[in-house]
Amino acid sequence: MNILVCIKQVPDMEGKFVPNEAGSWFDEAGLAWKMNEYDAFAVEEAVRLKEQLGGGARVTALSIGPARAVETIRKALAMGCDDGVHIDDPDAPQRDPWQIASMIAGFAAGRGFDLIFTGMQSEDRGSAQVGVLVAEQLGLSSVTGITAFEWLDGSMTVESELEGGRKYRLRLKPPVLLTCQPGLNTPRYPTLPNIMKSKRAALAVLSQESVSLDSPKVLSANFRPHEPNAAGVILEGDVDTLASQVLDLLEAKGFISTQGGVR
């Protein structure tokens, strides 16, 4: 069983985002980086499947990105992936989903992956396109937003999440591509020996030029903060003052009833 996991390195969303000069995306200065949350579920599921299958499975973790992406590939190795592949592309953060998908599909074509796991979306772009586009380009079946995966005798049963917590149960056979949704599993914390081992692991580094790259399908501009509620109040200060200010507001709105005493 030959498994591919596609991972992206994204900034910590609690950081401060400032537009870059072109206004097309954020400036990277001062941001902290981590594995895209949705991709961590993909890595965990791939590693679990490998563990279930014993010796016969191999998991490749692929990331497209600038040099910093190497850290995230090593994290995937520390979680249990066997091989790390870095498509070294300083312009990756600016590329649209179509382009990223063309690069992944270009890499995967002819390498005989039975199963491809991706996150259902990235935390920063949130387009939810790349996984499905890769599958379409490779001519694979795909299921989006899986929250359960079970492998038995050459076929898999998955659950795909809908609105309101409803789920479809589906059965399918490889080769397929699955996009992963939180709730699928609990990604492991790598052990210290595995972290050390992953630091020494050799990664395959491919240049952007060596993989196929389509031209972009969209242009991004005017990257800006979301609009806060114009009528909203922001309160800051020491907690006791804050608490009494908030209490005054809640009381004025009638949310603090004096009847019935303390519950």
């Binding site: 969303m13 995306w25 949130g126 379409e136 399908k217 979301h226 509620n229 608490a243 209490l247």
Partner: protein, 302 residues
């Protein structure tokens, strides 16, 4: 401008969000047609062509894709518009790939010929412009007000072959048991809690306010609270008169479930968190300190 809208059917009825597709089309003053999969007795009222197919599995992406592409072939629309829903994000990229067209996901607004989308979990926005003559769009549920439409569509039946590669085993309903939809006050726990034991701080505030405890999805995924307490697009939709969001960033899927709240108090260390788009009051504070202080203040004053 010509739009092909992709309506949605659930439990034999057209979903209420489908009316938002018409709302979007009205904003663009577009001529519309619609494609729809599913067995329904009633159709949306509009004048235009409605392409529909019966049969296929309830879940069958390939079947949906073929129906939409067939309608695209006949209508030649400038854009195909889906909701950004489990159906939309699943089918839209398949259609975009077949059309070799640009896709813009999660449209929340219009901006000078471009489409406004959210980025960075809702903290930022940007304007995206398709570079292809035809585009595929998914619009964020709740972003475009539904409009009342009238007319009788011309029904056009489409035959499509079901996909045999994926076997449909059935639909699982969510566990319920806790009904938050009627609660007057909800205090919700977010990942900003940091650990399961802090759920007690949220519970204490909920008690002091006489309300129920809710949760964001990561809190439920981590097992800190029961799944039945999840608020959001994949949980419950609530509309209390007071909603307190503790350590919740305010991702669009969470907001979708609590936007109908009367008054929103948010407690967050990040003053730029997207929850500020709906918060009436944001207390910028560490909840570990602030929640006990507020709970104590309420108990003292009463």
């Amino acid at each position: 401008m010509k739009l092909l809208l992709v309506g949605e059917v659930r439990d034999g009825r057209i979903t209420t969000e489908t009316a938002e597709l018409f709302g979007f089309a009205a904003r663009l003053k577009a001529e519309v047609s619609m494609a729809l999969v599913g067995n329904v007795g009633e159709f949306p009222a509009f004048s235009g062509r409605l392409y529909r197919a019966n049969g296929g599995n309830e879940y069958d992406a390939t079947f949906h894709k073929r129906l939409v592409l067939d309608a695209v072939e006949r209508e030649r629309p400038d854009a195909v518009v889906f909701l950004h829903s489990s159906l939309g994000w699943d089918i839209a990229p398949r259609v975009a790939f077949a059309m070799q067209a640009a896709q813009v996901s999660g449209v929340v607004g219009l901006d000078d010929g471009g489409y406004v989308v959210e980025s960075c979990n809702g903290k930022m926005r940007r304007t995206v412009r398709p570079l292809t003559s035809r585009a595929v769009l998914t619009i964020q549920p709740g972003a475009f007000a539904p409009v009342a439409t009238e007319g009788t569509p011309e029904l056009i039946a489409i035959e499509a072959e079901p996909d045999s590669a994926i076997e449909f085993l059935g639909c699982i309903q969510p566990e319920r048991g806790i009904d938050l939809t009627r609660a007057g006050v909800i205090v919700s726990a977010g990942r900003g809690l940091g650990s399961a034991d802090r759920v007690e701080l949220v519970r204490a505030l909920a008690d002091a306010l006489g309300g129920e405890v809710g949760a964001s999805r990561p809190v439920v995924d981590a097992g800190w609270l029961e799944r039945a307490r999840q608020v959001g697009s994949s949980g419950q939709s609530v509309s209390p008169s007071l909603y307190v969001a503790c350590g919740i960033s305010g991702a669009i899927q969470h907001l979708a479930g609590m936007k109908g709240s009367g008054f929103v108090l948010a407690v967050n260390t990040d003053r730029d968190a997207p929850i500020t788009s709906v918060a009436d009051v944001l207390a910028v504070a560490d909840l570990a300190e602030f929640l006990p202080a507020l709970t104590a203040a309420i108990r003292t004053r009463r």
